[in-house]
């Protein structure tokens, strides 16, 4: 009988935080299509972790050569599993590791991968995925065709759900791997330096994006931040340009923050930024584009020129004696 294979990610014996979200996405399809949800967990010495996974069944893909993640090793191992078991749908969470090997795995099976989908539904028996285009400005419905469908699910698109205590059965799959086919030699992960600023504990953050246009104009943002007693955060392009240090970057490759107040200034609201700040209690967005995706996550939206709004807002905050 066919099934949905959910490829889960673990690092150092811990499940990636996306695991319950992608399992929830799989269960939503499972209800519509009546297919069981089977999770695959790849690595070495991970059998205990497998027992804690909320799926109908868990397949532990184990091998000495899978101890450290490599794109070649994971592709070879999971490709053998897929060929042997023939799942109908293969789901991943759209993590950096998935970006690194899932397109390769799908291509090995001569299949496309529908990446970074925000939802999936069934229409006339076929799977239809929604994904964002133009950094979230538009959506597209993508029809999956063929016997084996590969797709990855965007972070935060599905809510992890409480499934209670599921009894799951665990089995082991041992792939045939040859050390020569693993061409990447990975070293241990590291952080660049101790971060001088820890935005994760900041109570107020004013974050600046490319709408600020030039480095000199950053003073407008600094003024507002100082009036509020807030830390300054930034979107990626601001740090890429060297206008602010990398450690002030908020988002999937930067810091994850949860202040009580987050003011996004001239930031479009790309998903890689939003994942880092959507946990803020109150979000204010200032952007001149009424269709900017950032308004989707904002509590208060100001659709205006930031160069006009910032000075007025700074003055108002100062007046209010905050």
């Amino acid at each position: 009988m066919s099934f949905i294979l959910v490829v889960l990610e673990q690092i150092d014996g811990k499940l990636h935080r996306s695991a319950d979200e992608v399992l929830a996405a799989a269960r939503s399809v499972s209800l519509l299509k009546g297919l069981p949800v089977v999770a695959a967990l790849t690595g070495k010495g991970i059998a205990d972790l497998a027992k804690s996974i909320h799926a109908d069944r868990v397949i532990v893909v184990e091998h000495d050569l899978l101890d450290a993640y490599t794109a070649d090793g994971y592709t070879a191992a999971l490709s053998q599993l897929i060929a042997a078991r023939q799942p109908e749908l293969i789901l991943f969470a759209h993590t950096y590791q998935t970006r690194d090997f899932a397109p390769k795995l799908a291509a090995r099976h001569r299949k496309p991968l529908i990446s970074d989908a925000t939802s999936v539904r069934v229409e006339d028996g076929s799977l239809v995925f929604v994904r964002q285009l133009f950094q979230g400005k538009l959506n597209a419905d993508i029809l999956a065709s063929g016997q084996t469908v590969f797709a990855s699910i965007q972070s935060g698109a599905y809510l992890a759900e409480d499934t209670g205590n599921l009894e799951t059965t665990v089995e082991t799959f041992t792939p045939q791997l040859n050390p020569d086919e693993i061409r990447q030699k990975p070293e241990a992960p590291f952080r660049d330096s101790d971060r001088a600023v820890d935005l994760s504990s900041a109570n107020r953050i004013v974050a600046v994006g490319r709408g600020i246009q030039d480095q000199d104009s950053l003073s407008l943002v600094e003024d507002l931040a100082s009036a509020l007693g807030a830390e300054i955060g930034a979107s990626r392009p601001i740090c890429d340009n060297g206008w602010l240090p990398m450690e002030r970057q908020v988002g999937s490759s930067g810091q994850t923050v949860a202040p009580s107040l987050y003011i996004a200034v001239g930031i479009s609201g790309a998903i890689q930024h939003v994942v880092g700040m959507k946990g803020a209690k109150t979000i204010v967005a200032i952007n001149k584009d009424p269709d900017a995706p950032v308004f989707e996550v904002a509590d208060y939206g100001i659709c205006a020129d930031l160069f006009e709004v910032l000075p007025a807002l700074t003055e108002e905050i100062r007046k209010s004696g905050n």
């Binding site: 538009l138 597209a140 990447q184 392009p237 967005a285 208060y300």
Partner: protein
């Protein structure tokens, strides 16, 4: 060393997008284009590697006729020559199709190093480079923030999540997907712009009907807002006082 850089033309960042009549892509008529941002960084990385150790930088672009502008820009910045695979519907092709087309040209060039951007601003699938690597049999690594080319291998710094990184070494030839911010971009100077016009741009055609099946876009549309955002209106002073009031009394964060 021969380095090939895959560049994509994408609509300029402040483009006003509208859905095309057939509902499956955007109206392209009035758009202006630029080099996809991470691809500009990939090109810069290639130029810097060439300056360090010599060799050739070849730019590869699958795009409509209008893509000749971004190709010219890449040549003006210092690329030696270009291959333009002309296809009018290129921008709406899915990455599996794009990768199959690009892979064929890359195999003909057999470069020592292939650089792509990690993701396109328009399609946003973040896959093309990785699929190409599989199709041409090169080892690869993604989201690269630093490269060190050694005699027969390359050591790279890969970005992981939450501010973590990792070094990975692999043999050449190899393919890397480059992240924005890896280096500092240069501008084309006048000399470069003049020289660009004399450089070779090889035009190649492709046949999309021979490709293995990709994904099918059935509808493109404006997302509807899920969250109720309170929009504040008025002149700047009025907006500022409304916001401070709301932050104090409604949100209670001031």
């Amino acid at each position: 060393m021969k380095i090939l850089v895959a560049i994509r033309q994408v609509p300029s960042r402040d483009s006003q997008l509208s859905v095309r009549e057939d509902g499956v892509w955007v109206e392209e008529e009035d758009l202006s284009y630029e080099i996809n941002e991470p691809d500009a960084y990939a090109l810069e990385e290639a130029l810097q590697l060439k300056e360090k150790q010599g060799g050739e930088v070849v730019v590869l672009c699958l795009g409509p006729e209008s893509a000749s502008e971004v190709i010219l820009e890449a040549l003006a910045k210092g690329a030696d020559r270009a291959v333009h695979i002309e296809e009018e519907i290129a921008s709406s092709l899915d990455s599996f199709s794009v990768a199959q087309i690009l892979a064929k040209s890359i195999q003909e060039e057999s470069p020592d190093l292939v650089l792509t951007g990690l993701q396109s601003d328009d399609m946003g699938s973040g896959q093309t480079g990785v699929i190409i690597a599989e199709l041409i049999g090169y080892p690869h690594a993604t989201i690269i923030m630093q490269t060190e080319v050694q005699s027969s291998s390359v050591r790279v710094k890969r970005e992981l999540e939450d501010g973590w990184f990792q070094h990975v070494t692999m043999p050449l030839p190899a393919l890397l997907t480059i992240q924005s911010g890896i280096n500092t971009l240069r501008y084309a100077n006048l000399m470069g712009i003049r020289k660009a016009k004399t450089k070779e741009v090889r035009q190649v055609s492709c046949d999309v009907s021979t490709l293995e099946e990709g994904t099918k876009t059935v509808r493109v549309y404006l997302p509807h807002r899920q969250k109720q955002t309170t929009m504040l209106e008025g002149d700047p002073a009025a907006i500022a006082s409304q916001l401070v009031e709301k932050l104090k009394t409604e949100a209670r964060v001031l």
